[in-house]
Symmetry: C2
Subunit: 462 residues, 2 copies
């Protein structure tokens, strides 16, 4: 450890009580690891902060000694955003986990960053309200992390992603300002949309200490159906027909043949032989009959492409069964092969069949199984490269690189909802070009002139 | 004119054909005027550009000679965004008015900036698709202007504002880069959300030459109703009950007593005596019965607060009648008093009655009539200060200043959809604070280090 870091740590010790300053290497390892497959890069210390002012104090110390600061919450990210690549101070927001306000009158919630997304959802639903973004990790991930990554989820098809629900933010900049950005009103266009810029900035521009979120009235009824197809192409055709037919379901989730085979292991449904793909669809609204009528209309539309019957869940237990087919996919795929690397490309909707075919072809070329599932309604696909032994990793990385480039070549993106982090930083320029990345670096410098906040994330290191 | 400008103009003359370079003072005046009440500030020249490359050439000339560049399209803005405060070169996008693509498969449109919003809407509707943002000026305003201002409109309540529909942009920066920002896929989180940052940046960060827009399936049925109340407070209570009751209509437009009196002059409806406010509500969807059922449920909810019957339009002609009551308000208010200054504050929904009361009180104090109407569902209110003689203008400006400060004091914003421009730049800091404005200026400098693009807009001049 350098002298600068020692000096910074001494200042932290003077500024924070012992029980909120983590120095134990065993505990620190957990602060430098997330749900990506990138291992642990522990920080030199972690501070369990309780206020924006404390974060400002940490930035002051870090600026004096030029040590990195890394914001950390649930560590459920998939792109390595919390890894302390160059050591430094982890700012753990875990204690800032209060729901500050739920206003049914303004349809607004104010929360601290470490509120768990699922907890907020349950709480607002008790008020008859609805917070739509539903990342798969919602029982673990936090609003702060969702804001950092601009998290999506199946319901994004109808309701949009996190960005659409963040009205305002309080953020601490590396330069020490504590800024209130955005608004509490639903609309507002004064000045630049700094709120939208911070959403999805992966903790590289500022640390969010409070979010003002837009809520909706809760749709009272939901209908869920599962449809099986002979092939991904048939399923993709059905997706297009539904959307062009003027139906906007809240979810349209696709499973390819490998995923379906894995799902079949625990799913309560017996899929017909030759099943090559499935769609999980869901409609919602306030009138039970209307919602049911819509799922039936949707079922009629896709029936012609389907293989066998459309399964419409008739009650809450059946709904849960249908969702479990989707939700435990990740676990079930690991039963096929113990290791996997999951990507989250997104492509224009018309390119879904080709994207899935290309991912499969990449696997075929390299002797790896690739399973694709995801949010077909908005073209966001999780391509999972399955493997058995760590030694296969170089080949797996080659497959991932090919899949990411294929997504870009099809007019899509390297990441639909997981973020760039460390995992995909070497592919950013392939998608955006050198000039756009250079502009992003200039923006980063406008927020963080010393480069102390979360260095090495999003952009390749120079 | 300075020597630098002369030199710049000589370079423009060499670079552009005579018929696309406007120098005539009479014609130039039109390029320096919009629908704000700020008069004309003509540029020294206007270039009718046809490509991004031409805009880059203009930026190169302007950079060499340090002369301002001002993007101009329909000139339907309400905040003075096109005024050439310091002369310079107007980049008129009027010839870049092609719809490049409508893809029903990807639910995407690609357009040039001068496509008129209403023209795009009609065209996508012919494909069974829907572009929701509907600023009142939609028969005149352009997508480029909508992107610059992040335009809203009545349907924003259910469908959101322009930002929610811009997937990607091509923009020319003052430094000469032609950047493709964003994506064609519905989702995508790679790098910073530069697309969202450009939307609403009022033509101060770059000039947009192409936009990729998200489309929706077109809702096939719409139901419209008009409800009269004894007071604004009763109407506001009804708004809250509708939204909390789990109904999200596509519009919830409010008219106060003065607006109603003005509307009564041409409206086909006879409002009951003592009518103090009205709500115009609209629901939409794909099933005619469902849509009608929803408006009836909504009508039942508000009936208890209403004065007299709820008028539900029974056919397209009646729908038009209801909308004309709202749409010709601006004209009808001018029949009460020939002059008016219209503001577009937004407040948290619960503060609507207080905002309207405060605006009225400001008028009372200064001896001016204030009429308020607007998008009550999202708290975006148009407060119109009416007056008779230009000499009253200082008093009117005082009233506007008080109304803008009241909106901020109630937790709202000085502008819900019109933008800051020149009109409200002196109030930006009152809303956002000095530190946020300083950060915005740093971002501006990251895009436009020489400060040549649209100077004097959004930020007070120093």
């Amino acid at each position: 450890m350098t002298a600068a870091r020692d000096a910074a740590l001494r200042e932290l010790e003077a500024a924070f009580p012992r029980e909120r300053l983590v120095r134990d290497p065993g505990r620190l390892e957990a602060y430098g690891r997330d749900e990506s497959d990138l291992g642990a890069r522990p920080p030199d210390a972690a501070v369990l902060v309780e206020s924006a002012e404390e974060i400002r104090a940490i930035f002051a110390i870090a600026s004096r000694h030029r040590v990195p600061v890394i914001p950390v919450a649930a560590r459920s990210g998939k792109s390595g955003g919390v890894l302390a690549l160059h050591g430094g101070i982890a700012v753990s927001l875990e204690r800032m986990n209060r729901i500050l306000e739920i206003s049914p009158e303004d349809l607004v919630a104010r929360v601290q960053p470490a509120v768990v997304t699922g907890v907020l959802q349950a709480e607002v639903e008790r008020h008859g309200l609805f917070y739509p973004p539903d990342p798969n990790s919602l029982e673990m991930c936090t609003i702060g992390g969702n804001v950092a990554e601009n998290a999506g989820g199946p319901r994004a098809l109808k309701y949009g992603v996190t960005r659409e629900y963040v009205l305002g933010l309080t953020a601490v900049l590396p330069t020490g300002e504590i800024l209130r950005l955005g608004k509490r009103s639903i609309k507002g266009v004064a000045g630049y949309d700094l709120t939208a810029l911070l959403v999805g900035s992966e903790g590289t521009l500022g640390i969010v200490t409070e979010a003002t979120l837009k809520l909706l009235p809760r749709p009272r009824h939901v209908a869920t159906a599962l449809v099986v197809f002979a092939s991904v192409a048939e399923a993709a055709r059905a997706v297009n027909e539904v959307l062009q037919g003027g139906i906007l379901p809240r979810c349209l989730e696709l499973l390819d043949d490998v995923s379906l085979a894995a799902a079949a292991k625990t799913s309560p449904y017996r899929f017909p032989p030759g099943a090559g793909a499935a769609l999980l669809v869901e409609t919602d609204g306030n009138d039970e009959e209307q919602v049911f009528a819509e799922i039936v209309r949707l079922a009629e539309k896709v029936q012609v492409h389907a293989q066998g019957d459309v399964i419409v869940a008739q009650n809450e237990a059946q709904r849960r069964d249908v969702w479990e087919t989707r939700r435990y996919l990740s676990v079930n795929l690991k039963a096929l092969h113990p290791l996997k690397l999951s990507e989250d490309v997104a492509v224009p909707r018309s390119r879904i069949p080709e994207m899935i075919a290309r991912a499969k072809a990449v696997g075929g070329r390299l002797g790896l199984t690739v399973a694709t599932y995801g949010h077909a309604g908005d073209g966001n696909l999780h391509c999972n490269v399955l493997f058995d032994r760590p030694e296969e990793r170089p080949k797996v990385d080659e497959a991932v690189a090919a899949i990411l480039r294929d997504a870009v070549d099809l007019g899509g993106t390297i990441t639909g909802e997981h973020g760039v982090g460390v995992a995909k930083r070497d592919f950013l320029e392939y998608e955006q070009g050198a000039e756009v990345v250079a502009l992003e670096r200039r923006l980063k410098a406008a927020f963080d002139p010393l480069g102390i906040l979360n260095p090495g994330k999003i952009f390749p290191e120079r």
